[in-house]
């Protein structure tokens, strides 16, 4: 079982959360080129190692949170992590 640190509810089973994914910055729709918009939609770094990502605590406080996870081992760290 993987425990995720929710800042409001404490450590909870990962099954309570929905994976949102790595953070991406939304370009300004008024000025973004088509290429920038497609990149925003589809391209991800797909990091193998420590990465920052968003999760949604759907069966708890229903808030979004950020955490650090090592995608090779599924270790999780609070805050900025290693």
């Amino acid at each position: 079982m993987i425990l995720l640190p929710c800042p409001w509810c404490g450590h909870r089973d990962a099954g309570e959360f929905r994976y949102v994914g790595e953070g991406t910055r939304r370009p300004d729709p008024e000025t973004a080129t088509r290429q920038q918009w497609r990149d925003y939609l589809y391209l991800r770094a797909n990091v193998a190692g420590w990465t920052t990502e968003r999760w949604y605590h759907r069966m708890g406080c229903r808030r979004y949170l950020s955490l650090r996870r090592n995608t090779l081992t599924n270790e999780v760290a609070i805050g900025d992590g290693p």
């Binding site: 995608t71 090779l72 599924n74």
Partner: protein, 426 residues
């Protein structure tokens, strides 16, 4: 052709009843199925990834186009990735005409592979049954069946009574949590021995002069002025002008080495196998609603697969949550399996693309080609992907069969939309 095949069977490494008898009498060791050559300084083509896609490409490059100065580099052992971790189900009952034609070509190649490679790949035509538990999935299946028929692929809708006739162990009553309303029946579907496919292609490619390098990890791809000039590996550099990325799981990282970004996210997919029992299931049974597919191997084990894990990861460790969910779903379909014991579970890495279709062909870097993004449907496409990529490498033209799968489709907004038939159920 016939003569060549006979010669192949009679040569020292060829497999035949005569060869088996001869080895049985003389008790001599079989020659290795493929060589372990030294790393040459340069090759015409370097294929990254020693799985079914990479080895099939090498084989068709040599056989169809006479290009044999080819290296297949694999960071671990052959078939250590997706090729050895999938559930070995073959089918061509997809939703889009592009998908149907493509996978049907693959099924055709798979059917005659054993004879072509002189290697028993144990293809077994079983019939493939995709269950519908709701009106909407039945509607999509009818759509699929019509597209399939238009592409001359045998596929039809059957009712619960026929489903029960095909698989007596299924619970088709209306008391089930997810009652079975019907199914998409695809008789040409089946299963195959996935390791044998990898080994067969490796042996045939090696016999034609392809170099296979195991335990050779690619650490860099040299690009000068937008052109590939070489590959750096853990065993030394290789000069080449053509590199094909045929990896799974690690495809976006390998492409990053050449400066090509891919719209790919890596998710593990878990599977499990039970202890062997007497043969009772001669059909591949799939339920998209319950996220499960079941088949029985020639050894009698039941192989279960599922959809990808709920979050991206490169970890291939199995989880208890998965096994609990899988067992629940399987028992909803076949309650009589409740006393069966699971033998083991494992995970493979799937490169998911936004439209559940692969990415094949050339990229913005001259000489760097990709055959990636194979999500959860890569194994069944191995032969056709190899054939098409070999043509792409040899002629420099993108074959019609894969023209819809180019990397440029994402920027152009021309996505393929195969999720309905590719997501679960292989």
């Amino acid at each position: 052709m016939r003569d060549a095949r006979w010669r192949d069977r009679l040569r020292p490494g060829g497999y035949s009843a005569v060869a088996l008898l001869r080895h049985g009498i003389t008790n001599r060791a079989w020659p290795p199925a493929w060589q372990t050559p030294e790393l040459a300084r340069g090759y015409d083509v370097v294929i990254v990834g020693g799985g079914v896609h990479g080895l099939a490409t090498a084989y068709y490059l040599a056989r169809n186009h006479g290009i044999t100065n080819v290296a297949v580099v694999e960071k671990s052992y052959l078939g250590s990735g997706g090729s050895g971790r999938n559930t070995a189900i073959l089918r061509s009952n997809y939703l889009t005409p592009e998908g149907v034609r493509f996978y049907d070509r693959s099924l055709t190649l798979y059917r005659r592979l054993a004879a072509e490679l002189n290697y028993n790949v144990m293809f077994s035509r079983r019939g493939h049954l995709t269950l519908a538990h709701s009106d909407s999935s039945l509607r999509t299946m009818r759509w699929r069946a019509e597209v399939n028929k238009a592409c001359r692929v045998d596929s039809e809708i059957v009712g619960p009574a026929e489903v029960k006739g095909l698989v007596p162990f299924l619970d088709v009553s209306d008391r089930a949590r997810y009652p079975i309303l019907g199914a998409l029946y695809h008789p040409p579907g089946g299963i195959i021995r996935h390791d044998a496919v990898v080994w067969g292609y490796a042996r045939a490619a090696d016999a034609m002069g392809v170099h296979i390098h195991q335990d050779t990890e690619v650490t860099g791809i040299d690009v000068v002025g937008g052109r590939v000039t070489g590959v750096r590996t853990s065993r030394g550099p290789i000069a080449t002008t053509v590199v094909l990325n045929a990896t799974a799981g690690w495809s976006s990282l390998v492409s990053d080495l050449a400066g090509v970004r891919l719209p790919v996210q890596t998710f593990p997919l878990q599977a499990a196998v039970t202890e062997p029992v007497r043969p009772f299931l001669d059909t591949v049974v799939v339920s998209g609603t319950l996220h499960v597919y079941v088949s029985q191997t020639d050894r009698g084990e039941l192989v279960f697969g599922a959809s990808v894990d709920p979050f991206a990861s490169y970890s291939t460790r199995g989880s208890l949550e998965f096994i609990e969910g899988l067992a629940t779903h399987v028992l909803q379909l076949m309650p009589s399996l409740s006393t069966l014991r699971l033998l083991r579970q494992w995970a493979g890495l799937c490169d998911m693309t936004p439209d559940f279709a692969p990415i094949m062909g050339r990229t913005d870097v001259d000489g760097f080609l990709v055959d990636v993004g194979w999500g959860t449907y890569g194994f069944k496409a191995g032969p056709v992907a190899g054939e098409a990529m070999a043509e792409c490498v040899a002629t420099g033209e993108t074959p019609q069969l894969i023209s819809a799968f180019g990397l440029d489709r994402f920027a152009a907004g021309a996505l393929v939309g195969e999720k309905g038939a590719a997501a679960v159920g292989h």
